[in-house]
Symmetry: C2
Amino acid sequence: MPDRLAVLRERIAELGLDAIVITHPSNRYYLTGYTGDDIPPNESGGHVIITPDRAVLVTSSVNSEQARQQASGFEVFDRVYGLAEADAAVLQEIGVRRVGFEDKAILYQDYRTLTERLGDEVELVPVGTLVDDLRLIKTQEEIAKIARAIEVTDRAFEQVAPTIKAGDRERDIALRLEVAMRELGASGPSFPTIVASGPNAALPHHDPGDRQIQPGEPIVIDMGARVDGYCADLTRTVWVGEPDPRLREIYPIVLRALETAEAGLKAGLTGREADALARGVIEQAGYGEAFGHSLGHGVGVRVHEGPALSKRNEEPLPAGSVVTIEPGIYIPGWGGVRIEDVGVLEEDGVRILTRAAKRSID
Amino acid sequence: MPDRLAVLRERIAELGLDAIVITHPSNRYYLTGYTGDDIPPNESGGHVIITPDRAVLVTSSVNSEQARQQASGFEVFDRVYGLAEADAAVLQEIGVRRVGFEDKAILYQDYRTLTERLGDEVELVPVGTLVDDLRLIKTQEEIAKIARAIEVTDRAFEQVAPTIKAGDRERDIALRLEVAMRELGASGPSFPTIVASGPNAALPHHDPGDRQIQPGEPIVIDMGARVDGYCADLTRTVWVGEPDPRLREIYPIVLRALETAEAGLKAGLTGREADALARGVIEQAGYGEAFGHSLGHGVGVRVHEGPALSKRNEEPLPAGSVVTIEPGIYIPGWGGVRIEDVGVLEEDGVRILTRAAKRSID
């Protein structure tokens, strides 16, 4: 990944750093291509150290052979002790004075180890989301990979959705969706598939369980394939038989909020302005309190990344970001409706990548 | 989960703490039963605050309805900003002086937020693996859940293993195993399924890919179901047709190392002594350098937990722990062999829970 390293090295030089230690797993994958697993909070597949002329992947002996195969251009340091101890050993061997670290993505324990091992003569400089920010704007190659993940997701949804019938269990539908994504080429889901029926649809992140689908109730399906390291994210709300009266009222509001947001969204709006496009429609319909999350988020090597389409983001959204647009209304005890597309932010609008059909209610 | 809270509150009292903040997702699940998702490093499904008379689950509005349903007996604090900011607000409202925190499982950023918000009058006390350690010794109910996860895993392996044939792709075998586990009752895999064939079998944590199975080569399958929140872990090495000469030599060594370890393992041995049981057999056969990981680890709500059957663990292994026993030999360029069972440590031995058949080579 020579271009990405070159850009990062420019940033390192601008900040007057001798090196940077990268502890964020998605940033590690973005820079190295190494797919080592991480289990939060304290099992990491590896750290990365970048200097003006070295690129080191620090990992454990269990993963080092895989790291050597995947991270071309990187030296693999095969630790026999803790990762942060190994980071410190590599940094001492290189001989550094000012070292950047990801203060939003490092364990307290690893930070402590680095300060203790490196001593007073080394200055640790917090760099915030410096490396995450490299991922905000996608290349054409990255957009093509996301589009492929979305295509796999859309096709899996369209294969499985017509087979859903009353009496099906949520967990069985989720399994059918995941199998379809894998058979169509996904390496796996980009997050645990959500199938939330009836009252469960009031929970934005419901785990699919044994509940059986009933006619007329909302079924929120939120799913995504991972293809070639990149993520998709798709939500559709469907039903079996005739929609119940509340669904008949709420579904068109959410659909109109989505369509309004997609018509108005473009690069240069702030996150708050983007969020307001959909929120305005939902508030006007009297459901403002029931839309308890933000409108969307970036998608890339990680299913949730920047930029945030949120009332708490006052920054302008950059052209070339890929983002979700996903308004929802949730009513505890009854259920909910969410509809989600993904698109590329451009100067004059948003180019929607999602093709999965949406239902309509007359 | 009243018993677990009672035990934790005794520890808090012993340490003279007013409260403890729990940031480790597995500890959160163990105490609350809440299954909120976490994406490392910086998306957490929630934190827990325990005091002598309060039990609070701090989460986001996206997850709060689910948290209320799952975490019975807990107050759910529905934050509208960062989790650590919310932790601080709850702690200030309670009015605390000495607060324990999980120094091995907290983000640097969250630690900083706590210190800044709570100020000098509140002392933050590192408690290490205090809460993890509650999970070391399993109750009969927990052992029954793990045994059920193992049974699902064993049956899925025994259904799929006979169907493996030359030309099958690794990823397709992995999918068949995962579908079988789900159909048999798993909520999902307890970790990404490994199917590593030929040279890929030299990578202990290989991601299954497009490689097609060839006759005679080793195929390492490492898989586990999650059932009712508890994990299984199973490794078998299989082959199609006649095993190649190297597999014929190495497989019996690993099998003997496993059998020797299972015959000698019992509570009271140190992690180092346990590891040495298998390592001695492999070293004597001349493959010591090729066994690059430790013999095993605890299994519970997390697939990797304490105690460690490792040469770096000088502590005695407790009775009532559930552990893996998984020797392996890895030869870069050729492949590898690993065989893994799971058992309960008892005073006079280890009670093996795994039932999946092992191959033998005459």
